[in-house]
């Protein structure tokens, strides 16, 4: 059941004995990508297109007292400009997901009257070359009247705090109390109460290597825009943009081929897309927008920064966890572009992987003068799971227990699956204790003490840490009603079409917008298994076009769901096509019943007389081009569309109770670190990651997701931080100061897996790809472990660069977290 590899062996693409699913089929996407033949958004050009450059705010918070574009408009090569006032005249504010007070804010595509973070777009300038657009943007004169900036969420509700949005009456955007079980009883039963004053999950994101971009064309005759873009969730962009632009959604055609990484960070580019649409119409030409790295860091999709205050944990002497209370304070940045959904998404994994039943979490989200937050790989669950993992390790530390034992004692057991959490989510399957055993074995845990002594003899401090994490996939959008009961969203869906073309080609279209997850390949594997053909016979259209691909309301690539929603839709559509082929062949063969037929060798034949064979090419030709004489009631088109709808109910909004996600993949990571106590510098010297995502269609792709998410977590745990100074300047606006892991930073990695198929999904699969947060949890635990006996600082922040480690070693009281234990 366990495999240990650092890189899977190549598997020859020959028809497998059993099924294509489960094989490491090399990806269909690779051939174009390794030749530089991918089509990314910035590769697309149009005759006479204008390049847009945004004038951005240098201030974190300021009134705009005047804007003068006259000089810029006179500059060489300039086609025109767009200001916030024009946007406000031409569009309505974006729809707000939040109930009041956050629901009252007025969000437009460009700043109007005020800027609220450094890097906010104020004016757009279009010119005939990229360089001239930027030249002209320097001629735009914007007068600002600076205001005090709010950069610390903890000050947001102070009486003297600067207020970002007057319409909201303060900086509170959304708040809600979640409580399940009987907290009083749990704390009465507890032997100890562990109190943790403050924990902080820092601000970062996945920094996909390709930044955002678009090429927007306007067709004046039919008042329709074609938006070639790398937005990863066009369905969401459309419902944000259509009402704002006062147009029907079919007037917005989204086109994508290859996307250079997304990780959730490319969901909320709708403000920039609106600007491009307005400019395309105003200037009567195609508008090209390339976001540069510094623009991205300044303004796009930071991950949610979150504080946890006044945490109290009820625990028995033997380490049995009964429950916890905490106050989560979420820093949304300046705008609610996808928020406050983070205020409920965390609840998909309320108890983490543990059996505690009594939980109270007061969630508050505030606005600050920083870039808006938006989904980032592990969105909102990562913050919460980091919290639960930190709690486990702090409890173990304070009570002198072994973190492995505390985990094993409290993990939800395999025999309890499916497990209903205190808030009504149903964990489908899993065996966390077994995964931990695999992870311990891979890292060589039994030699740990020996290695610790060896490290100490070299003057180094060795630390070991575990990170457990859940990757909840396939959202029930009904959870949004807990944020705002007025919202009419629930359930989820994804769609696929599969057809046989005139010459028998099998053509698949997806509703998704993949960014490297290999959808073309895994979809082909599913189709090939059903139609008994080769993956090479299955053509899955690259990318997405909302005009000619299938498309459903929640279509897109986000929230760990393709293996469930996407592939289930593919499966459904392929089965429809298969049934139609049976029907057609039955008629062609003169009334042969389906049970007498079988698929084989790229066609269909009569079981008992295999020479009666109808190749797919013939099927396609008959239906499409040679259909005279077919029975009138045949009802076969060989072009099948299937919408997969996961089995969800509308959650109980009053109790905040219900199943919020369909599947729960899991990851457990272990890490060994060595700290140089003189400098705080540390290295990851060994790393293991164990994954369970149910049935794996393409294990190599799954493992690639595990590895990639792990690398992102390592970066986040050690270096990656969107740090602001007190004036609201971003201190890490590029890869020079925002250090992402490089080749030399990577530790040796061992990977393992177990497979507990999901009982709830058509293929036994679970969505995956977002479980990498485990690396952050594990490194925090390892740092704390290394500091044991060397000041015993409590690791309270999710990002621990060298200077913080050194500070914790040298002044553990000041630099570490504050924790106390009291008898209950």
């Amino acid at each position: 059941m366990t495999s240990t590899t650092t890189a899977p062996e190549r598997v020859e693409v020959e028809a497998p004995e059993k099924t294509w699913s489960g094989q490491n089929v090399p990806r269909k996407e690779d051939r174009r990508l390794v030749q530089g033949q991918g089509v990314f958004v910035d590769d697309v050009k149009r005759h006479g297109m204008g390049y847009v450059h945004f004038v951005r705010s240098p201030y974190a918070h300021a009134h705009i007292t005047s804007i003068d574009v006259s000089q810029a408009e006179q500059a060489p090569g300039v086609y025109g400009t767009l200001t916030g006032e024009e946007v406000a005249a031409l569009t309505d504010p974006f729809f707000q997901i939040s109930s009041v007070p956050g629901g009252n804010i007025q969000d437009y595509a460009l700043a109007l009257g005020k800027v609220r973070y450094v890097g906010e777009a104020v004016v757009a300038v279009v010119a005939d070359t990229r360089e001239r657009a930027r030249d002209a943007s320097e001629l735009v004169e914007v007068e600002y009247e600076p205001l005090d900036a709010l950069t610390d969420a903890r000050r947001a509700r102070d009486a003297d705090a600067p207020v970002l949005h007057d319409e909201a009456g303060g900086n509170l955007m959304w708040e809600g109390v979640y409580e399940w079980g009987d907290l009083d009883a749990a704390f009465a039963e507890a032997d100890h109460v562990v109190k943790i004053d403050e924990l902080h999950f820092h601000r970062f994101n996945s920094t996909p290597l390709e930044c955002d971009g678009a090429l927007v064309e306007y067709n004046r005759g039919v008042a329709q825009w074609t938006i070639t873009t790398n937005n990863q969730f066009p369905g969401f962009a459309a419902i944000m943009m259509g009402p704002a632009m006062r147009c029907g959604l079919d007037k917005l055609r989204f086109v994508t081929q290859d996307i250079g990484g997304g990780f959730g960070n490319k969901i909320t580019s709708h403000p920039q897309l609106v600007v491009c649409c307005l400019l395309a119409r105003k200037l009567n030409r195609a508008i090209q927008w390339t976001e540069w790295r510094t623009d991205f860091h300044l303004s796009m999709s930071h991950g949610n920064e979150r504080w946890f205050h006044e945490t109290e944990v009820a625990v028995k002497s033997d380490g049995t966890l009964l429950g916890f209370r905490t106050k989560a304070l979420d820093d949304a940045g300046a705008w609610l572009r996808y928020e406050p959904l983070g205020g409920v998404i965390w609840a998909q994994v309320t108890p983490g992987m543990y059996r505690w039943r009594h939980i109270r979490l007061e969630f508050t989200q505030v606005a600050t003068n920083k870039a808006p937050v938006s989904p980032n790989r592990g969105y909102s669950r990562m913050q919460h799971l980091w919290f639960t993992e930190r709690v486990i390790d702090i409890v173990a530390h304070e009570l002198g227990l072994d973190p492995i034992e505390v985990r094993k004692r409290n993990y939800i057991r395999a025999d309890e699956m499916p497990y209903e959490t205190p808030n009504g989510c149903v964990y489908d399957s899993g065996d966390y204790a077994q995964m931990l055993d695999v992870a311990l074995e891979l890292i060589g845990h039994e030699q740990l003490e020996q290695r610790r002594q060896d490290a100490e003899s070299r003057g180094k401090l060795l630390g070991f840490g575990i990170g457990s994490t859940l990757d909840s996939g396939t959202n029930n959008f009904g959870q949004s009603r807990m944020i705002n009961p007025e919202l009419q969203f629930s359930g989820n869906n994804e769609v696929a079409t599969v057809k046989l073309d005139i010459f028998g080609e099998i053509v698949v279209t997806l509703g998704t917008t993949p960014q490297g997850q290999g959808h073309e390949t895994t979809a082909a594997q599913v189709v090939a298994d059903i139609l008994k053909c080769s993956v090479d016979d299955v053509h899955v259209r690259a990318g997405h076009d909302s005009y000619w691909n299938s498309h459903a309301g929640f279509s897109g690539t986000y929230a760990s769901q393709f293996a469930v929603t996407g592939l289930s839709a593919v499966k459904g559509a392929t089965e429809m096509l298969r049934d139609e082929i049976f029907k057609l062949a039955g008629a062609v063969f003169g009334g042969v019943p389906p049970e007498a037929l079988e698929l084989a060798d790229g066609g269909i034949r009569i079981r008992e007389s295999p020479e009666a064979f109808l190749p797919f090419m013939a099927c396609g030709a008959i239906i499409n081009a040679n259909n005279a004489g077919l029975p009138e009631d045949l009802g076969v088109t060989l072009n099948c569309r299937y919408v997969y709808r996961p089995p969800f109910q509308v959650p109980d909004v009053e109790r905040k109770f219900g199943n919020l996600t369909l599947t729960y993949a899991a990851q457990i990571h272990t890490v060994v670190i060595e700290i140089d106590p003189d400098t705080g510098y540390y290295e990851l010297i060994d790393y293991a990651a164990v994954d369970d995502c149910g049935k794996r269609i393409n294990p190599q792709i799954v493992e690639g997701q595990v590895m990639g998410a792990t690398a992102q977590a390592l970066g986040a745990a050690m270096h990656e931080h969107f740090a602001y100074d007190e004036d609201g300047n971003l201190l890490t606006p590029n890869f020079y100061d925002y250090h992402v892991p490089h080749a030399l930073d990577m530790p040796p990695l061992r990977t393992g897996s177990i497979e507990t198929p999901s009982p709830f999904t058509p293929l036994g699969t679970k969505g995956m790809g977002e479980g990498g947060g485990a690396g952050i949890h594990a490194i925090c635990a390892a740092v704390q472990d290394a500091l044991r006996g060397h000041g015993d600082a409590i690791v309270w922040d999710s990002c621990n660069p060298y200077h913080r480690v050194w500070e914790m070693l040298n002044d553990p009281k000041a630099a570490g977290g504050s924790v106390s234990v009291s008898a209950a």
Binding site: P58, Y59, V118, E138, P146, T294, D727, N729, L730, L731, P733, N734, Y736, D737
Partner: protein, 152 residues
């Protein structure tokens, strides 16, 4: 970024005060001044080009005197706007008679820099600011000496 320091001048307080409050003398202390306009006794504008080895940094600098108590205290607001940078600075100085008969100056400046130059990182900006401050102080010394040696 708050920078502060103390400096002692051999000149009498009036001479120091005179230099610090004479736009023309001040212009001579600033780095890379290309032009200097006095709008009224409390508002001045300078166009400067801060010299950097890789090419100069041009800025239009507006200064406003916020407060003064002659001859001991003044407070200035300085706003610089360049294409690559925005600078805001509030600076104040206090003059007193030094024990040895010269003039003691205590000064503080709260400097804030934003814009693309800000993105070069604090490791670059702080040394640049420190260095420019040193430049100003050295020039100030020179101006004060010159003023003190001139017949009033």
């Amino acid at each position: 970024m708050i920078v502060s320091g103390d400096r002692t001048f051999t000149a009498p307080r009036e001479a120091v005060w005179g230099v610090l409050n004479d736009p023309a003398s001040m212009a001579k202390t600033m780095p890379g001044v290309e032009s200097f306009d006095v709008h009224d006794p409390t508002h001045w504008t300078a166009n400067v080009k801060i010299p950097l080895g890789l090419g100069g940094l041009r800025m239009k600098v507006d200064m406003e005197k916020l407060e003064e108590r002659e001859p001991e205290f003044a407070k200035l607001a300085i706003k610089g706007q360049g294409v690559g940078a925005m600078m805001r600075m509030e600076t104040q100085f206090e003059l007193s008679d030094a024990p040895d008969g010269g003039t003691a100056m205590h000064w503080t400046a709260d400097v804030r820099i934003a814009g693309p130059v800000g993105s070069m990182g604090q490791r670059v900006l702080q040394p640049i600011v420190n260095q420019q401050v040193q430049h100003v102080l050295t020039a100030l010394d020179r101006e004060v000496k010159a003023a003190a040696s001139e017949p009033a």
